[in-house]
Amino acid sequence: MNKNIYSVFIAILLTMTSTQAQAQGSISNDYSFGDGLAIHGGVGFLALKDEYISSEIYSGTVPYFAASWSRQNETYGHRLWLEYEYTAALRNHNISAEITQLRLGVAFMYPVGKTNVLSKDVDVLFGPASELFFHYRSENIADGGESVANAYSFALLFSGGMKLEALCPLNESFQLHAMAQTSLLSFGGRMPNVAGIEEGEKNESAFKLLTVFAGFDASGEIGCSYKLYRSVLIAADYRFELTRISAWDFFISGNDNFIVSAAYDF
């Protein structure tokens, strides 16, 4: 009975989440942590609301690029990743915004247990993670007359939190993986609201320490990887990311991506 409950939990996590692309040999009964360097490319859908500009939601498809590095030792493994997203076509009706988003993260993963899902071994790893999220928006909010009117906004979140991974090798070449990550405490930055400054309101700081309720960054991934050769591996993943900041004008950026990856173990 208990085993079933655990299986359900892990199954849910698998559907919510994922890992970095894998690039490790020795796939047998043990999982592949994914040592080596991986590059990722894909396409996603991004929805954004930044009330520094307006309460309107902007959305559109965004190319996704990332690189990651993973390495393990006897007691734990660590992951380092950099993501980049850019589009000039995030739209709200006939108004478009130019968006650049970067994520730089690191995580230290410790094996915490092994379970069984649908008769398959699933290894679970858990550990601290930190991520730097940077968002920059440039927008032609209007054009006409003799000039083009640009507005700008940015969001910054440097967060510490935790990461959970589940790795399920199906055979020597094929592995399922999932990941969930969330922030707990963050250092955030935004353009302070100055709309009322001329009317006597006090200017607020552009940088603040944020609890998870004021600054929240989470991501999840689920996917599979396949070992082509001894050191080369390909993967396909679904990944979602959510960043929410409410300590200043409300900001939320959510995107999901379909990603293919290639990894090389060296």
Partner: protein
Amino acid sequence: MTFKEVKISRRVVLASTFLLTFFWGCRDLVVTPSAQLYFDGESNNVNVADFEEAWSITNSVYPFFQFKHINWDSIHSVYEPLAEKANGDEMFNVLFKMFTELKDGHLEIVTQGGYAVTIYLPPRLKRDISAFDPHVVRKYFTKELKLAGDGYMDYEILPENIGYVRISAFSEGDWIFDFDKILDYLAGAKGLIIDVRQNGGGHGEQVNYVVSRFLSAPLPANPMYLSNGQPRSNPPIQPRGPYQYTKPVVVLINGASFSATELFATMMSQLSNVTLVGDTTGGGGGNQGFYSLPSGRQIRISNLDIRRYDNQPIEWNGVPPNILVMQSAEDLKNGHDLQLERAIALLK
């Protein structure tokens, strides 16, 4: 990496439970109440409300309809249908285009967070945006210029024993108090250049603070009018400080001297020891008022007709120099600040 098989850890269960609870708990936090209106499909109604409010406020406070020969009622009939059709942030464009009709450099549309977007660049301001280069100014000095006033001012004495101070803005703040120290430093020079080129303006109080050091007698305020044509009376500007600077002064102006800076130029032009050199100022003769719209957007528009001492509106007309010295980016590229050179020649 290997580790011994164990029954699923309690830590995993706890962590999983926490994550699931957390994601579920955040569900209601994602959408703010202020945004709910938009999810309910009320975006267009908000835009129409914004339009009506913006039009009405402007109709009430804008003082230049007659001077600019603008029929504001007809503007309403042209742009109201566009506002009704506008979805979401398309309303920015409708407001932008409507206000462009006023050709007013003080007009701004402001995002909810306060980012101000300028709607109209007056022709002289646009022309002279590149007609000043502080690096070229520095070539005329043998010493590095000193900074003061939170970086709003720099100053030094030219080799010809002429004092030079540049005031880059008249923004609100205590930084302006440093002007007295600068004047003390430059008081021994045989003349003074006050460079307000590229000064986009600010607050009248800051202007008065500087002007008051040059007055030997109270200076009557320049004329100002409300939107209904009624004059607004202002008290004369009183001399201030331990001494008054009465040596020759050149005020450098150009098309990028705007708003409160033009007030400064017109006041200084009333003093017999002051010569305005450069080019006619930008022509921003309104006082910028701040007005909120129902959506949270804001508009900033002129609500006062500030005039020169000859009772001509500063709006569009600007303040002309006593000595016209035109200057282009090309002159600066060749290493010459012709306006500064003329000022030095006058005071030498």
